[in-house]
Symmetry: C2
Subunit: 337 residues, 2 copies
């Protein structure tokens, strides 16, 4: 009952009375090996269910066939969709995934990075944590020759492939929709402004107001992008409520939390106040009224990210130009706005 050590190419060689190199070559159909020998060795390997040691291979090849993934919070539906999109393609191409969670924490993110670099992953896919405001940890990976692809929450300062949504446009479309149904006093529940994503959606919101001749009021822009934060700002929001007729929330769960607070205080959605979200997660059709929102295709974005990465990994020689792939947002109109 001791540790059953998996058998190696060496064991096969010994048992078959040939050399290690012969076994190695036979198993990969090297022309130098006679077909007799090949057949014999392959049959035996099959019989004993030989499996090459990936660790040894990685060391030898200086390539781990592993891709690192840093996710702010895996429990968010958007991010877990991204994972699915990445995984499908990565496995198909023979890559494994090491997934790390930053938990929206800058420091944790840096540690994740270091872990992945230490593991000699071939590439890293990252979406920034909310608290990340400097980017040296990414430079280190790049200096080590590990390509990075940012998805969704990207670092402008770093040159790399990126997969984003056109968040400016998303914010614009969403706000425009509210305006088109008659809203004139629209609150924006915004993400942190040091995130591109937060800034862009907000700018889209502002642009829509401006181009429709509506005033942009700072007091109508609240930094508030989680359900919990909505609950904290409950009173503030209820103070605002009498004067407003629309809310553009930076994500669905924030929108939903807002709807619940409004409803509990006898505001009707959308009649008194229309609410629009961002993301189109599964919650959108559970709330009543069903949520009008901007679709954010997590699976597709994940897929695109890994595609960019694979393209780079499969052409190690070519110094491919960095590319930014941008997804166009689309509005899905339901009942809340």
């Amino acid at each position: 009952m001791s540790k059953p050590t998996p058998l190696t190419i060496k064991d096969i060689a010994r048992n078959l009375g040939v050399s290690i190199s012969t076994v190695s070559r036979a198993l990969k159909d090297h022309p130098d090996i006679s077909s007799e020998t090949k057949i014999m060795i392959k049959a035996y390997a099959e019989e004993v269910n030989y499996r090459p040691n990936v660790l040894a291979l990685s060391l030898r090849r200086q390539k781990s066939n592993t891709i690192g993934l840093i996710i702010p919070a895996i429990v968010h539906h958007f991010f877990s969709s991204v994972i699915s999109g990445i995984e499908d393609l990565a496995y198909k191409e023979g890559y494994n995934l090491i997934i790390c969670q930053s938990n929206e924490n800058h420091h944790r993110e840096a540690i994740n990075l270091q872990t992945l670099v230490d593991h000699r992953v071939d590439g890293i896919l990252v979406s920034l944590s909310k608290t990340t405001q400097s980017f040296d940890h990414f430079r280190e990976a790049i200096d080590n020759g590990i390509p990075i692809v940012f998805y969704d929450r990207v670092a402008d300062e770093i040159e790399s492939d990126k997969v984003i949504m056109d968040d400016f446009e998303g914010g614009r479309i969403a706000t425009n929709h509210l305006i088109s149904r008659g809203c004139k006093n629209i609150v924006h529940l915004a993400a942190p402004q040091h995130l591109q994503i937060g800034k862009n959606r907000r700018n889209g919101y502002c642009e829509a107001l401006k181009s429709n001749g509506l005033e942009i009021r700072e007091d109508r822009i609240l930094k508030c992008d989680t359900r919990e934060e909505v609950m904290t700002l409950k009173n503030h929001m209820l103070n605002l409520a009498p004067e407003i007729d629309g809310i553009f929330a930076v994500n669905d769960s924030t929108a939903i939390a807002a709807i619940q607070i409004l409803q509990n205080n006898n505001y009707r959605v959308p009649e008194d106040i229309a609410v629009i979200g961002y993301g189109d997660g599964p919650n959108a059709t559970i709330i009543n009224p069903e949520l009008t929102t901007i679709v954010q295709k997590g699976y597709e974005m994940g897929r695109e990210s890994i595609k960019l990465m694979l393209r780079r990994l499969n052409n190690p020689a070519a110094d491919i130009n960095f590319q930014t792939k941008s997804f166009k947002p689309s509005l899905i109109i339901r009942q809340s706005a």
Copy 2:
């Protein structure tokens, strides 16, 4: 602009004019090395930001410090909570995670298993896919000396550590609650019966009926455990609806889908038909009426799973008895029942 190969212990040795082994020993405070030399080597290593090659280490130690995780579907909130629980502790103990998705597919699960075995992970955490009905692939891992911990959806046939909920009790409590509020004709939307989880919750449901003198009717037990399936069975459910006054669904999203169908057809929940779910995910408080449900602690279950694993890995010699850790379900009463 070629591939910048990270520097090794060998580079340090050369640059410092000492031997490789001296560097190795100095870096890990081996007593054989004079403190002078140690200080010098450590300082230099620090300066050039030396990082040991994890791959080489794993090969040498015959231990990858990596744990494999097989998840049926990462987008389910319960499972992503489990991941979080696992991750926190695993990283703290210096283990990395390779996460694979089976997508509820037996074949994919077997491939995942093989991948993890190939990577010489130190242990594997698994929750069965819905379609898994044989278990040889797990045997292979075990034969290779890789310990397995099953969580939530476990394989009875395999001897190993397990982390489960008392699903029988959960089904009983849920059903009892419906009965206690006056329901006499209760439908059960059940998971596949080859999963313990499905069988146990169903048995709990039956037990509650029986001990309350209610008849168990097979036609009131539907295999139906996703939102999509509810939609497919819509007409069937509406046929049942006039005769029933309660539904016990095997998970929240099924319960929610049922509520939506009932409401769209002018049944009141809970007045006409009470509905109870299972899981207590974030959706439970979004639906109106808010969902009465059984809490399923994903994070804690994940945490417990990795604990069992670490205990085993940290005592490789001791042949620790297999243990099954069972979580008690609790009922959280809201509005839907």
